[in-house]
């Protein structure tokens, strides 16, 4: 396999222009709804990731009650392309695959819309489209990267908030940036998506607050971690139910004679 490729998103330089969202829609020819409006609570107008929005710029306002102190946090969110991907694990059809770039892609001609991957994704990324009857998410522009191109969103980002490259190189760059920010007094700077989270996120983030502030789970887990303990308890239940049946159904002296009318 080629070296793992992915995104490093430095949220401190995101200006919320949404060029990434537009580029994603244009390149992937994703249909958009015609009735987009501002949500009324921020400059966000798509609200969340969806089957039609594979990128979503989050606008997070942190202001004091008197509005004297505050800051905007902006973050271009997308699929995390987890190294240990819960969606890929549970997919029963093999529609979800890991590419040679260590990214996670849904094969649209294989997916049958069972939606188990939606239930498994701890980030709420994978979503169902009524139009296609299948699930959708960011492909990390597999068609472009296969041809040696940069994904459309990273190409369009005017501030280099979204950077594409070899994960090891990007991580080194991000750690340097965290050190710089912390030296300048932004002690909350941190990386979200190093190897401590699902083996590493191939779309990882530099945050300047707790993950929950950005709508990210603190410690997302593999969905399939539960299969063994849950199955063992199921076997225990089967043994108990089986014993109940064996003890209750055994032949007794007081049994009725066989009925003449058969079932």
């Amino acid at each position: 396999m080629a070296r793992a490729m992915g995104f490093y998103t430095d949220t401190t330089v995101c200006i919320g222009c949404k060029a990434c969202q537009v580029a994603c829609h244009e390149w992937n020819q994703i249909p958009t709804k015609s009735d987009y409006k501002l949500l009324g609570t921020s400059y966000d107008n798509t609200g969340a990731l969806s089957a039609e929005n594979w990128r979503h710029v989050k606008f997070i306002e942190q202001f004091s009650d008197d509005r004297k102190d505050g800051r905007w946090l902006m973050m271009s969110d997308t699929c995390k392309h987890c190294v240990q991907a819960p969606c890929l694990d549970v997919c029963p059809t093999g529609a979800l695959i890991r590419t040679e770039f260590d990214t996670v892609v849904i094969q649209q001609d294989v997916c049958n819309g069972c939606r188990d991957c939606i239930a498994a994704c701890p980030f709420g990324v994978v979503q169902f489209s009524e139009n296609t009857g299948t699930v959708h998410k960011c492909t990390l522009c597999y068609d472009r990267t296969s041809a040696g191109l940069v994904p459309a969103c990273a190409q369009a980002c005017p501030t280099a908030s979204i950077q594409y490259g070899v994960i090891d190189d990007l991580m080194e760059r991000a750690k340097g940036r965290v050190a710089t920010l912390q030296a300048k007094g932004e002690t909350r700077a941190r990386i979200y998506g190093d190897k401590d989270i699902l083996g590493g996120l191939n779309s990882f983030y530099l945050l300047v607050d707790e993950p929950e502030v950005y709508g990210l789970p603190r410690s997302p887990k593999l969905a399939t971690r539960n299969v063994l303990p849950s199955s063992l308890l199921g076997v225990g239940s089967a043994v108990i139910v089986g014993l109940i049946g064996l003890l209750s159904f055994r032949k007794r002296r007081m049994d009725s004679p066989p009925p003449s009318t058969q079932a």
Binding site: D89, T93, G94, S129, T224, A238, V241
Partner: protein
């Protein structure tokens, strides 16, 4: 911020599938147990079990296909779409569940035909499979798949990242017990309606009483295990128990579906001849409501 997850929007087809899957599996393994250790009088109930298990499995398959976004691609669950080679991911509950349902359907089909042939011939014994080690072996292997079908749906829910589902490993055990309980109720009902042996009904009710008690213990464990998880300041038990879901779980599942039938079984003359019929119907209703509460509460955030 609580759970940054998106619900899979599994609705009534899945709820009913979970219920009927438990019923199909439960009917089959209850029938096998009745046949193996019961008396001649219990044979009719066993036959009913085989007669209902296969049609229920067929309905299960139809429900699963209907719920897919692309039903015509249902076979992608079993075969690789490019090579048509078998596809089995043992760590994916839907993958292994699809194979489990298919294999159970095959076993239940043979048992169904066997019972049908025996009926047509008005045979005292059995139709396709003569009594003997082969028959016993066949039924025991079929019963393993029946247990699997009744319980794997809870494991499937647990192997997600949705609130409640992911928080309790007892769901598989609970669904299996519920599948057994509802199947015992269904067989008791069918024996009653076909004027079968009262001793068999009593055996089924006895077994159901113990299964109901076991189910109650598992329900308490479900609530305790869910209550042990707090995400983003919100306790997962509040997701399971809030509003109408908590009420449905307490009144619909526990009181109507478990305690009332238990009481009716222990006071068999309370409602006269209707007593066992009402008890069986209440157990069936409780089983359906259990799936409803578990499936829907987690998705209604």
């Amino acid at each position: 911020m609580m759970y940054p997850v998106v619900p899979p929007e599994w609705g009534w087809p899945i709820i009913v599938y979970f219920f009927l899957g438990g019923l199909a599996g439960g009917a089959f393994f209850t029938a096998v147990l009745l046949e193996l250790v019961g008396g001649d009088a219990d044979r009719q109930a066993a036959r009913w079990g085989y007669l209902v298990a296969f049609p229920l499995a067929v309905v299960c398959g139809v429900l699963l296909m209907a719920d897919l976004g692309r039903p015509e691609r249902f076979w992608h669950m079993l075969l690789q779409s490019q090579s048509s080679a078998p596809l089995l991911k043992w760590w994916s509950p839907i993958s292994i569940g699809s194979w489990g349902l298919l294999i159970f359907s095959a076993f239940s089909f043979v048992a169904f035909v066997d019972s049908l042939l025996a009926l047509r011939r008005r045979a005292v014994g059995w139709g396709l499979l003569p009594p003997g080690p082969l028959r016993i072996g066949f039924l025991l292997v079929g019963a393993l798949f029946a247990f699997f079908l009744a319980g794997y749906t809870g494991v499937l829910l647990n192997a997600t990242n949705q609130p409640v589902w992911t928080d309790s490993p007892v769901l598989g055990a609970l669904f299996l017990a519920s599948g057994a309980s509802t199947a015992m109720a269904l067989l008791a009902l069918l024996v009653l309606l076909s004027r079968g042996a009262h001793s068999t009904v009593r055996k089924l009710e006895d077994a159901d009483n113990w299964t109901i008690l076991f189910e109650l213990i598992l329900l308490v464990l479900l609530v305790l295990s869910v209550a042990a998880v707090t995400v983003g300041g919100t306790n997962a038990a509040t997701v399971l128990l809030r509003g109408g879901y908590g009420l449905t779980l307490l009144l619909g599942v526990v009181v109507v579906g478990l305690l009332l039938p238990l009481g009716l079984h222990l006071r068999p003359r309370l409602l006269g001849p209707a007593n066992p019929i009402v008890a069986a119907l209440l157990v069936l209703l409780g089983g359906l409501l259990l799936r409803y509460v578990v499936v829907m509460s987690a998705q209604a955030l």
